[in-house]
Subunit: 170 residues, 2 copies
Amino acid sequence: MISSPSVEPPDQPAAPLRLPQELVASTAFLLGRLGYACKGRAVEEFEVLGFSPYHYSVLALLSEGERETQATIADALGVDRSQLVGLLDSLEERGMIERRRDPHDRRRHVVSLTAAGKKQLAKFRSLIKRLDEDIVAPLDPESRETLHELLLRIASHHDPRFAAASVGSG
Amino acid sequence: MISSPSVEPPDQPAAPLRLPQELVASTAFLLGRLGYACKGRAVEEFEVLGFSPYHYSVLALLSEGERETQATIADALGVDRSQLVGLLDSLEERGMIERRRDPHDRRRHVVSLTAAGKKQLAKFRSLIKRLDEDIVAPLDPESRETLHELLLRIASHHDPRFAAASVGSG
DNA sequence: TATTGTTATACTCTATAACTATA
DNA sequence: TATAGTTATAGAGTATAACAATA
């Protein structure tokens, strides 16, 4: 028996493998689906290297300067403090970050990037570059720019952490 | 004691609650974060009505015509067939969809929308409309259009289910 | 033997809350 | 008593696989 789904004459031209028009018409739906796919792709690719996208986020953050406490890292990245512990553990085990107890407040850990961490970060950056290019592949350079700008505007509107480093407004 | 994080003079102008520049510069990262936030918002809002976004997806799909099998619904929406069972169960219990055994192949269920389902779908549509508008709030109408078009181009490039109903190419 | 729908199981992710050591 | 970091626990969500009915 043939497994073709349309043995009988197609009365209605309904394409079985098409999403409902009204879902595709929703920006929220598109963002949700695309975002999920992006995250999945990223997780897969980082997994190959034995890491997760969160590891990259931590290293990227630390590359902009060491942090006085773990809590500021967690808050900046929007992850739970307890979740960050495991991330830092694995990065520290591999010698990519360093935890130093703050002598003035021995509860705190000053976290900083090591040379090995910077090296790994470079690899992560080329991974992300490939991923970004793959995702926006069907767009020309100008459209890519436009898309990014629009996404950033929306993101920073809903979450101030996305706000671009404003010059001289502090 | 004041909980302000900056008691000491700020040597470095590092803003603790800002995401790393290079992450914000990544379209994949923006998409991932925004998508996650969108999904979360949607789940919350549907939850108030006692539903999930998946319920809406199913009703929206069925509003375009009944389906000969549950599998085509699952495949079109990209959910697992076993996951769909529970969704259809809850919708059927509330009288919003109907399962009829196909007399020609008693393994199959023909699934269709009821009057109550159509009514609920209308409520879902106004919910989604509000959600969409809230998300793209900072954009003017033209930018919203542009954003949607760019997202749709990317989505359909990676997943043919997003492809707009092409006229006369069947 | 293959397929449709269903149920059961396991696993990941995350959110919460308890715990320690310092203050 | 409150805070920084840590550990443990529980819950939701999802993916996998086993199962019964039918072809």
